[in-house]
């Protein structure tokens, strides 16, 4: 176990180093820089050059890279180029919002999709496929709805027509109810695709388990179908499902970028889009590296948890 973890951890470090390097140099190839993005229409050539110099954009690339690496190792995320705010501070402020959205999404997804998928599998196993087929069809359609589209439709329905949830507004941690209302729509938009996917995966895993020999063994010992479902099928299907939940985090991170933009949620995705728009390398590279780190770490932890939970997997 420890061996495996250490080995995986080294791989993770190598991957992150690769990510950092790739991101750093790629960003430098983006035409236009923070200075010209900041100035917009207002500045002419000479004034712009001054600004660029002042922002430190004229340093040699390699020395920028090395100092970036050094500061990263020291956990110093630096300041944004345009607004001179500490990137770490911004990230710390945005992160809880994105994370609570992601976690709420996962909770909502799990509570809906697992019973649904299980039911579909259970019925399909007994030859009644309508729920299964319906679920598959729904999942396909929902999978294909771009989130910006779903977001707008939800806004029109739930916010404008029904008036249940606000479309904008501050996120305050002091008023949990307001927070819940504020995050409800984005979480719903994020969940809807996750639910479809997760229900399908649950359905597949449970169905697979239901046709396993040990399920038949349990039946031969006199357990009823429902007892078998809960004693054996869910327990066995839980592992692959848990893994998928971990992995779906990556998709969630994709989704939060767009949802945060539309619902003006001041989360990490929003920071990223701003960073890209203002060519704020410092911000963008830190955020992308952070995303990658988060993603890789979650995969790593999921993998370890999986291996710890599953008695079959040996190290």
């Amino acid at each position: 176990m420890a061996d495996y973890a250490v080995k995986k951890f080294f791989q993770l470090i190598v991957t992150i180093f690769g990510v950092v390097t790739l991101v750093f140099f790629t960003l430098r190839f983006i035409p236009g820089d923070a200075a010209s993005a900041m100035a917009g229409d207002t500045l002419s050539g000479a004034a712009l050059e001054n600004l660029r110099e002042k922002m430190g954009l004229n340093e040699p690339l390699l020395s920028q890279y090395l100092s970036y690496l050094k500061s990263l190792v020291m956990f110093d995320l630096g300041e944004t180029l345009t607004t001179r705010l500490p990137v770490g501070g911004l990230l710390l402020k945005a992160l809880p919002i994105t994370l609570s959205m992601a976690i709420a999404t996962i909770i909502l997804t799990v509570t809906i999709s697992i019973p649904l998928g299980t039911l579909a599998a259970f019925m399909a196993h007994k030859g009644r496929r309508w729920l299964d087929n319906g679920l598959t069809g729904m999942a396909m359609i929902v999978d294909l709805m771009p989130s910006f589209w779903t977001a707008l439709v939800f806004l029109l329905i739930f916010s404008l027509t029904l008036g249940w949830f606000p479309a904008s507004g501050q996120l305050t941690w002091e008023d949990p109810w307001a927070l819940v209302q504020r995050l409800a729509l984005p979480v719903m938009v994020l969940s809807i695709t996750q639910i479809a996917t997760m229900a399908r995966i649950t359905r597949t895993s449970v169905l697979e388990v239901l046709s396993e020999d040990y399920v038949r063994t349990a039946r031969s010992l006199g357990w009823s179908e429902l007892q078998v479902l809960f004693r054996h099928a869910l327990k066995n299907a839980a592992l692959p499902i848990a893994t998928v939940i971990g992995l779906s985090f990556g998709n969630l991170l994709n989704g939060t970028v767009i949802v945060e933009f539309i619902f003006t949620i001041p989360g990490v995705g929003n920071l990223l889009i701003n960073g890209i728009n203002s060519r704020d390398y410092q911000m963008v590279q830190t955020l992308i590296v952070f995303y990658a780190l988060l993603f890789v770490t979650i995969n790593f932890v999921t993998d370890l948890i999986y291996r710890t939970l599953d008695p079959r997997v040996q190290f």
Binding site: A2, D3, V6, K7, H125, K126, G127, S211, E212, D213, Y214, R216, T217, A218, R219, S220, L221, G222, W223, S224, E225, R231, H232, K235, N236, L239, D310, P311, R312, Q314
Partner: protein, 658 residues
Amino acid sequence: MNYQAPLQTALLEVQDLKTEFHTDGGTVTAVDGVSFAIERGERVAVVGESGSGKSAMAMSILRLLAYPGIVAGGKVILEGTDITTLSERKLNSIRGRIVGTVFQDPMSSLDPVMTVAKQMIAPIMRNLGLSKDDARAEAIKWLDKVGIPEPERRIEAYPYEMSGGMRQRVMIAMALSCNPQLVIADEPTTALDVTIQAQIVELMKTLTAEAGAAMMFITHDMGLVARFAHKVAVMYAGRIVEFGPVDEIFANPCHPYTQSLLGTIPSADMVKEDRLPQIEGTPPDMKFPIKGCAYKDRCAGAHDRCAVEAPVLDSRGPHHTAACWLPKGLENTKSLKTEKTQRKLRNDNTEPHVVVELNELRKHFVSNQVFSPSKSMTVRAVNGVNLRVWNGQTLGVVGESGCGKSTVARLMLGLEKPTSGDIFIAGLPQMVFQDPASSFNPKMKIGAILEEPLVVKNVGDKHSRTEKIQTLIRQVGLDPSYLSRYPHQLSGGQKQRVAVARALALNPAVVVADEPTSALDVSVRAQIINLLADLKDELGVSFVFISHDLLTVRYISDQIAVMYLGEVVEYGPADEVFAHPAHPYTRALIDAVPVPNPAIEKTRTNAPLSGELPSPLNLPTGCPFASRCPMVTDRCRAEKPILPPHKTSRQVACHYAQ
């Protein structure tokens, strides 16, 4: 073996049972009107090929069929009650309590994420109404009974921590723990090694006898039937074609199918000149209604009536029934559909010379642990093997799974690089693989598959190659029209024929056949064995025949090498080794093989080899067999016997070889 006529109502009576599978491709009638009865305490064997409906029939009794299978008709009367009409809930109180079940594959039949305790205790509590502690004690008692060492500790183990044999013992303990009246065992030993198989069979026999439980035992192994059963039901194409007491069935089979099945098994007294009787063709597709007798296409005795009218079970003696229009079936089993029954042994005038020689061959697999080298593990799969194969002869290699016999084959073919030692081969080695399904590139037609070795080796031009593959396909008894088919369009037996043809394409010096028949059905097995034996005689090719099936190996081989834990423990002429095994392991192996003759089986001692194959990770310092040897001494544990010449032609690695 004291079969007695029933005095009261039968424990289980099955009447006209019908089971269907409604698939997208049509309705498959897997069980087509089966009727029989099992008395209390009676052991009934159900034999038949795969697809004969024997498992579906067994699962239908307790309605354990998975979707899309349904019981379409008939009655199952258990202790006087028809359970086909019972609700699921009532049936659940019968499952486990009155009827226990043991399944085929011990690897997949236990829940991998639950400990044995969790899987065993709850049913005991429920079915016997015991408290948790009592149930646990009961479970431990049963684990002890089935021969699981340290049951108090092992009950907390997960299935993956146990070997296949151990798991099957747990399955048996689970099935018996609620004191059922009837145990249904669906091929419980098929997935196990021959020595373990003997142990399990013996165990089931004793325990059911002790508890007075009846047993329905499903198998395709006639030897096991002879060893085990009171009565035998032979199934073919969803129906019972013959039913009767075991002695009757073996001594006086009346259905051509039973007769042929018994004939296909190489018996100990068979001479090599005798061809194995074989059953041609394949069983019918159960998707389509069968007109007349289902066996007519493969039956030597088929006549006009068979094509229009299906025979029903008809009395052939006391308690003996058979479904055939011919009262005695085939008069002469030698007149099975084979062109010739004897082959001429090749009289080769050339000097016998060694074609294959292995010297001190070793293959170690090392798994590296980067961060803690101390944990690096070495598996000594082949640990110093010396073997020779002479021209035109067959060397049989036998041993349990994990003994290294397949690795030896791969080393000979150059598919693995030896860790040390030499391999000398006078010419080209070729191979016939175990699994016909994966032996061929599914994207290539048979013609291309046979041509491939010639193309790779640049033999001849297009025209001569085409001629060559035509010859090859005929040599293995297939029509050249098969050349334009894809592998998946061929049956398992046909695929193995093609595999043999491919192995012969380059005129090899030796063909290594690694368990070539183990994936095949009984009736087809004989076809392949005959083919190999014929080719050896016709072409003078040497064979290395690797198998765990001792009877077959004895029949086909000139020399036998018995392997144990990567080493050859006994080597010598096949008949001699068989008749007078010198190594205790060889003896145990031979003892473990059930003989398809109830009379002989009754006389055998049946003291199966105890224990299991030790892990090749930590080999004992002394004799590798010391941990299981009945005659082990301290010397064996300390000192490793080498393979010395024993008598003139044999070698035995044992300090006490007789």
